[in-house]
């Protein structure tokens, strides 16, 4: 049945049109973000060549280094070269350690990615669950409890919540490891145990926002005429809730998820520090203090790429949920 709908020519052309519109939006955004990345990092006052040449560097040596790094080229050319290499997976080499940036990032980014994804999953589960529960019986005890919990979750800064959790679980109640990271190669169970606290910390506020968002939009939907009509016709509350109201009301909550992806990635950086995780945050901060530009550019680029992918996914989901909505 679904397949028949899917290969409907009208549906296909609608999808193509959507894809075209998305493309038109995304490519410029991607290009501009990379341009901002490049601009902020590469065009800043930079004395890397002088630093590397050291105390005994002559002007000629510095000029040679500048040429080797390509600093003497006009900036559009540098931008294009950099982007071209990046798209081929070559993010350059660290100025100081000579380690390829792609290697360093590949070793560390999975940590942040795992936290962000794990947190996202928890946030979606808790958020949608909570929002649904709250909306199913508006102003009931459950609803008020969830709303209050949500406000609390939003008020506490995540890094303070994280520190509190670390204090409790590292110092007082030694239930499971509060800090540190174990690679999945060493066992999924161990990995998950180390992931719980950081992901929970990141997920809590997002879950609260999703729950709040979902509750509002579902309550709005519940006021609509079609719901009254369905009730009159004898459909069960549950069926109405899940089959119609949720589908129609989920869009803003889904959009929220997309909106907070950059925050989740950024939050992972702070979580790294508190939970002692070997992610790109530590790499990036070290590189920032050393003005190790290729590393910073690589980190920014990868983060932006992840955000763009997530936005694309969210947009696709939204398009499926609300096919009639036009986006400008």
């Amino acid at each position: 049945m679904a397949l028949a709908v899917a290969i409907n020519p009208k549906r296909i052309s609608a999808t193509l049109r959507w894809a075209g519109a998305e493309f038109l939006r995304f490519v410029p955004v991607a290009l501009i973000s990379t341009l901002i990345t490049f601009g902020v990092t590469a065009l800043a006052p930079d004395d890397t060549a002088a630093q590397l040449a050291g105390d005994t560097g002559t002007l000629q040596e510095i000029a040679n280094l500048n040429h080797a790094f390509g600093f003497d080229q006009p900036w559009p050319q540098r931008y294009v070269t950099w982007l071209w290499h990046a798209l081929h997976g070559d993010l350059g080499v660290s100025y100081f350690t000579q380690i390829p940036v792609t290697t360093s990032i590949a070793q560390r980014f999975p940590v942040d990615l795992s936290i962000a994804i794990f947190a996202l999953v928890i946030a979606i589960v808790l958020g949608f669950g909570g929002g649904l529960l709250a909306a199913s019986r508006p102003n009931g005890v459950v609803d008020r409890a969830i709303t209050a919990l949500g406000s609390l979750a939003l008020a506490i800064p995540e890094f303070w919540l994280a520190i509190l959790l670390v204090i409790v679980f590292a110092v007082k109640v030694r239930l499971f490891p509060a800090t540190g990271y174990v690679a999945t190669s060493q066992g999924l169970g161990q990995w998950a145990r180390h992931m719980i606290l950081p992901s929970l910390t990141l997920a809590t506020p997002v879950a609260a926002v999703i729950a709040r968002q979902l509750r509002i939009s579902m309550l709005t939907e519940l006021d609509e005429n079609y719901v009254t009509g369905a009730l009159v016709r004898g459909y069960s509350r549950r069926r109405i809730l899940f089959k119609h109201v949720l589908r129609n009301g989920a869009a803003p909550a889904v959009a929220t998820v997309g909106l907070y992806t950059p925050s989740l990635l950024g939050g992972a950086v702070i979580a790294e520090r508190i939970f002692a995780l070997p992610g790109i945050g530590a790499l990036a901060i070290d590189a920032a203090q050393a003005h190790d530009i290729p590393v910073i550019q690589g980190v920014l680029l990868v983060t932006i790429a992840v955000v763009l992918v997530s936005n694309l996914t969210v947009d696709a989901l939204l398009g499926w949920l609300r096919p009639g909505v036009k986006r400008s």
């Binding site: 902020v40 800043a44 702070i270 901060i285 910073i296």
Partner: protein
């Protein structure tokens, strides 16, 4: 300018019937006052070390105890209020100026320019603020101005979109149409009529943006970006407390409470003003606009504590 301030104040006053909200407003005012007075009201010099009395718990001589170098925590909290709060204010101003003016002007753009500007704003939204701040520090050095600029620039999108939405909404009002028919130029109309209508929403967004900025600046300070030792700031104090967790497990409470209270209060005020505006405006819910999260007047994201 007073006329501009009256409307939001009225709204807040009307929307602050409860003690809850009055407490929130009081907290914000208190924090700002502490920040302004700074070392004038601190019981000790925030930098004075006392190696004989480190990690002291709360006592009559040190109400909040001392830190790892014997410095009075309360004094550091007080002196640290200014960099934590006022830099957030500057960041919000950057976002506001950078976002509101182009946002309003965007209705005057040709379709092409509008497209590019919108994509630029979208691009700003794809960059996580922390990573952006790290990049700015990498390029321009570590310091409070760099951190503030980083946070401020990435707040431009929220101001831009809200003001643009408001402008679009009000620009199609009948009296605007009438004015244009009478020969008024578009910029004049915007300045004279639309701006005043958009200001209340700006107030709401600014309040929540301020909460966001406080969290952002503190988060960066926590990571060591934006504040130079030994000057205290709430975020850097939190970082130190983490290092000395085993010597003083509960010391992290103080800066954490300071930040949480401030952010909660700003959020509460922003929510209240928002509710006030909604009641005022009676705009049908579910207005179509680019941002699906915009369900009602203005897109007010709660000050989420991520950066």
């Amino acid at each position: 300018m007073k006329a501009v301030l009256v409307k939001p104040l009225e709204l807040i006053g009307r929307a602050l019937p409860t003690t809850y909200l009055r407490i929130a407003a009081g907290i914000v005012a208190f924090m700002l006052l502490v920040g302004a007075l700074g070392s004038l009201i601190a019981p000790y010099d925030a930098l004075a070390q006392d190696s004989a009395h480190t990690f002291a718990g709360p006592s009559w001589s040190h109400l909040m105890g001392t830190d790892f170098l014997g410095r009075d925590t309360l004094s550091r909290l007080i002196v640290g209020a200014r960099p934590s709060l006022f830099s957030a204010v500057v960041a919000v101003v950057i976002g506001l100026v950078g976002g509101a003016i182009p946002g309003m002007a965007s209705v005057l753009f040709s379709r092409r320019v509008e497209f590019v500007v919108m994509r630029f704003v979208d691009a700003l939204m794809t960059i996580p603020p922390i990573v952006f701040a790290i990049a700015i520090v990498a390029g321009f050095g570590n310091g409070l101005p760099e951190a503030v600029v980083a946070i401020g620039v990435l707040m431009i999108p929220r101001f831009f979109r809200v003001v643009r939405a408001e402008t679009l909404k009000h620009a199609s009002a009948q009296y605007v149409e009438a004015a244009t028919l009478f020969g008024a130029s578009k910029p004049y109309v915007l300045r004279r009529h639309v701006w005043r209508k958009a200001v209340p929403t700006l107030g709401v967004v600014s309040a929540s943006a301020l909460g966001y900025a406080v969290l952002g600046i503190s988060g960066l300070a926590f990571l060591g970006l934006g504040e130079i030792a030994p000057q205290p700031s709430w975020g850097s104090m939190l970082s130190d407390d983490l290092t000395y967790l085993y010597q003083a497990p509960w010391a992290a409470m103080w800066p954490g409470v300071a930040i949480s209270l401030t952010v909660w209060a700003l959020n509460a005020l922003s929510d209240a003003a928002h509710t006030g505006l909604v009641r005022e405006a009676e705009v049908p819910v579910g207005t179509e606009s680019e941002a699906p999260e915009t369900q009602d007047v203005g897109s007010v994201e709660p000050a989420l504590q991520y950066v």
